[in-house]
Symmetry: C2
């Protein structure tokens, strides 16, 4: 790698449900992630990257479209993405990069929109739209129930069946199941079974298979430029790891949960409703955490080993010198912190993600962003406006001068994120209609305000209370802080871009046109 | 008309730039509008209807799509409308109503979206999308410059040429021009020429032609159900009326402007920038008002006469008894009030419009809204949540139980409107970028707050100051009022629906599905 490197390819790695603090380079005291740590060492590690929504689908749609959730409208996992909205794939393919996905995207096409536009979902056009602009080199959206499998083929399930795993739903029965002490096959849907060894061989596991497919793609491309979205499904549930990762960690490696009994007293109604969810009740028990977290950590170390394998492969292929590597996650995992499971809520372990970028051309003093990737990369970068910059001093300038649409946005002072919880039992418990279950977060260097439609806000002082154990949302002493943050949120609402079908240069042209000779003469005497 | 009438058709009349208080039934002391007043007498007159944007394009797109501007994204006149967004035409055509437009829609299709979706703009599909769902029975978007005429055919211009008006741009040279005392042809682009008689014969004028086309359409339909959007271009500028309307009114009929010198002292920066526009400087002069306003009034009385003619036609054809009539406007006209011309600003003469509905089935105790028109009619109705109801007591219940998407929205307590002023000289004067020129209004029974991104707000007390002459936006005494209105605005932002590609019933189905046997089991031990 020389100072003259030119970036031609993008390897965009996304983990699923990987929380920010479960990597060595983000300070986890026990986990072993040497290869990801090495990426961070060579590149830039953003310490405070936030996702635009702490839920798979909307977070991913924000990354793929470069828009906030309120703009792309795919507010939850199975809410369709507009077929008219350009994605990362559109931008990059136009620029000559073959742009493909291995793994998960969660893109659900808007069949209603296709019908209105007379686009046959079975046509080449329809198929392209169904992929959100990515060529589905080896797509899947995670482990499947038997019912879903009947509706939709699944590349990884097919692979397992061809590799000798004999079951219709081989993914579930081998990769997501284990054998207990009595010799019975047990599904990892039950958290009690997370501690078991997955029935799949490591070399046939989701992570290994995805990495192999990534190498196939890169090999196939030769010297032709590409963007590969390598989208690992792990460490997302069902939490179960193949050998040797299933017992790499044990109870003694499980960090104490960030939770105090005081959180249950006079609790915020929405927080309380989420705490009543099955997964929250489960993860409130140490027995559950001790079964799940060692597997969760094993799955992360497994991803790390495959990233090491992939890095060596890139080096051997001569691709390290011309490939921008981005590593991130779509959201975190609460794992029992705050007496909660899953994600959704805006606590740091849920809404905070790792973000690492390795740019082989960075030694030239700046970081290369493919012009066509502006909007999408911007959605990553803009979600990091709090990003403390570890290594490359050129980043700041780079962020300022190469942002969205050719403009020069400054590094932002606040992060925003959105939640549509209409799809959760919490909504029923609170008696809310399908359009009343909304929440938004604004987070600055020090403060985090969460606004719930119809309920009081939550407020946390991240400086004095980094674990977010003390909700100041209803404390009269903090009314001025809340007012200031509310103003930021309102300013963000007011400034959100919605003029999506006209470029800024056209706006300027119209403004110039107003006074053009022979044009419309408004208000002339 | 009997109590057993069933509504089968919709006549949706929209004027362009007709301010609310320039009709007899809305209290104008001099104007003669007996036929529109008669509609109000038979139907429901909404006293405080507000448009979602005080600019033609975005206001119309809100009406046609049933969405606020932030949702449909067509924030100004020539900003394309998403091709994926269903419109009134989609809903009604699906329900078997032939849905057509005579006159203006201002729909600009998203050619970029069509390109992405491989839709040829010249195809039948492309043509349909270019019309926003309306069959273009006799569409035009208003008087045209010579340059525009070369790009796009124009039905009314063609008609004039066929009727013997000999000029390439016959619309401009005959219908929008007059002959001065020296015998010279003068364009009504210049406000000094508004006082002249238009060179077109009344029976060939825009308003007469549009009414004739409306009758043709209705006649053609016979007993088949229809929705006709009769979209008069008048009284929009160029302000010039044919005989006998050109001298029906004179200076003595011109109401005194609502403006005081105090408005110029310590003026709000955005207001000041709009006051510096050419049209504002012009309308600040009484000479201009006295030339323009008599013609403006004449054009309104002309529309009124044709509505009378159309009403008689409907009666003769037996259509009055089964046709819902809606009469409104896309925004108003400042005409020198507050030292301003045009619209854009959120003063009542600009953002307030008339709305009258005549429902022949209303005597049954309620008002009929075609189920397929829910979203669009709702955009009209929801913009009237302040509507005092004049005649039909059933309206309130009707509004509550037949609103958008089958829900039961209550009558609202506040109206909201939006402005993207990136396209105006005011933006340049203020040194703003193309995405920084934003304003929003929230208006309650008593108060109107206008928020400008990057500037202080404006506040008016409509109870003590109905003419909006005293801006309380920076008065410390009114900080609590502003805070309360800001909270409403924030609540509206947070609650704006953006999950547009999934119906509420599907959301409920997903919520039910979560706990379905054999489904995904999250967080089970």
């Amino acid at each position: 790698m020389t100072a003259n490197s030119t970036v031609r390819n993008i390897l965009f790695i996304m983990c699923d449900q990987l929380r920010r603090d479960y990597l060595g380079c983000y300070g986890h005291p026990r986990i072993r992630t040497p290869h990801i740590d090495a990426l961070a060492g060579r590149g830039t590690r953003f310490t405070r990257c936030y996702v635009q929504a702490p839920v798979c689908g909307p977070s991913r749609m924000s990354t793929y479209t470069g828009r906030y959730v309120a703009s792309h409208g795919a507010t939850w996992n199975f809410v369709p993405l507009s077929v008219e909205t350009p994605t990362l794939g559109d931008y990059l393919q136009k620029a000559g990069l073959r742009t493909a996905v291995v793994g998960k995207t969660h893109v659900v096409p808007n069949l209603g929109g296709m019908a209105r536009l007379n686009i046959d979902p079975a046509s080449a056009q329809g198929a392209r739209l169904a992929q959100g602009g990515f060529e589905p080199y080896a797509r899947h959206d995670g482990v499947i129930t038997d019912a879903w499998l009947k509706r939709k083929p699944n590349a990884y399930n097919d692979y397992l069946r061809k590799s000798g795993y004999d079951a219709v739903n081989a993914w579930h029965e081998f990769a997501a199941s284990g054998v207990d002490e009595t010799g019975r096959v047990q599904s990892a849907w039950k958290l009690r079974n997370s501690r078991l060894k997955a029935r799949v061989e490591e070399r046939h596991s989701e992570t290994a298979w995805s990495t192999d497919r990534a190498m196939d793609f890169i090999r196939e491309q030769g010297d032709n430029p590409w963007c590969l979205h390598l989208s690992y499904i792990k460490p997302h549930w069902p939490y179960i790891a193949p050998a040797p990762y299933h017992d790499m960690y044990s109870e003694k490696d499980v960090a104490a949960p960030m939770r105090v009994d005081a959180e249950k007293v006079d609790a915020h109604p929405v927080y309380q409703a989420f705490r009543d969810h099955a997964e929250s009740r489960a993860f409130s028990r140490n027995e559950v955490r001790n079964s799940v977290i060692p597997s969760y950590m094993g799955l992360i170390s497994q991803v790390d080993d495959h990233i090491g394998r992939l890095t060596r492969f890139l080096e051997d292929a001569g691709r390290l010198k011309d490939t921008l590597i981005v590593f991130t996650s779509d959201h975190g995992d609460l794992l029992g912190d705050h007496w909660l499971g899953e994600k959704e809520m805006f606590y740091e372990p849920s809404v905070g993600v790792p973000l690492i970028m390795v740019d082989p051309s960075a030694s030239k003093g700046g970081t290369w962003i493919h012009p066509s990737w502006k909007r999408s990369i911007y959605s990553l970068l803009s979600s990091t406006r709090l990003g403390s910059l570890k290594t490359i001093s050129g980043w700041k300038a780079s962020l300022s001068c190469r942002g969205c649409c050719g403009d020069a946005p400054p590094l932002r002072e606040a992060a925003f994120s959105e939640l549509d919880y209409a799809f959760y039992p919490a909504r029923s418990a609170l008696g809310l209609g399908p359009n009343e279950a909304r929440a938004e977060m604004v987070c600055t260097e020090r403060w985090k305000l969460i606004l719930y439609a119809g309920f009081p806000p939550q407020l946390f002082d991240l400086r004095s209370d980094p674990a977010e154990l003390r909700d100041l949302g209803r404390d009269p002493a903090f009314a001025p802080v809340r007012a200031e943050l509310l103003e930021r949120l309102t300013g963000w609402h007011a400034a959100r871009r919605n003029r999506c079908h006209m470029a800024d240069r056209e706006v300027d042209a119209w403004l110039a046109h107003r006074t053009e000779p022979g044009g419309v003469e408004i208000g002339e005497w």
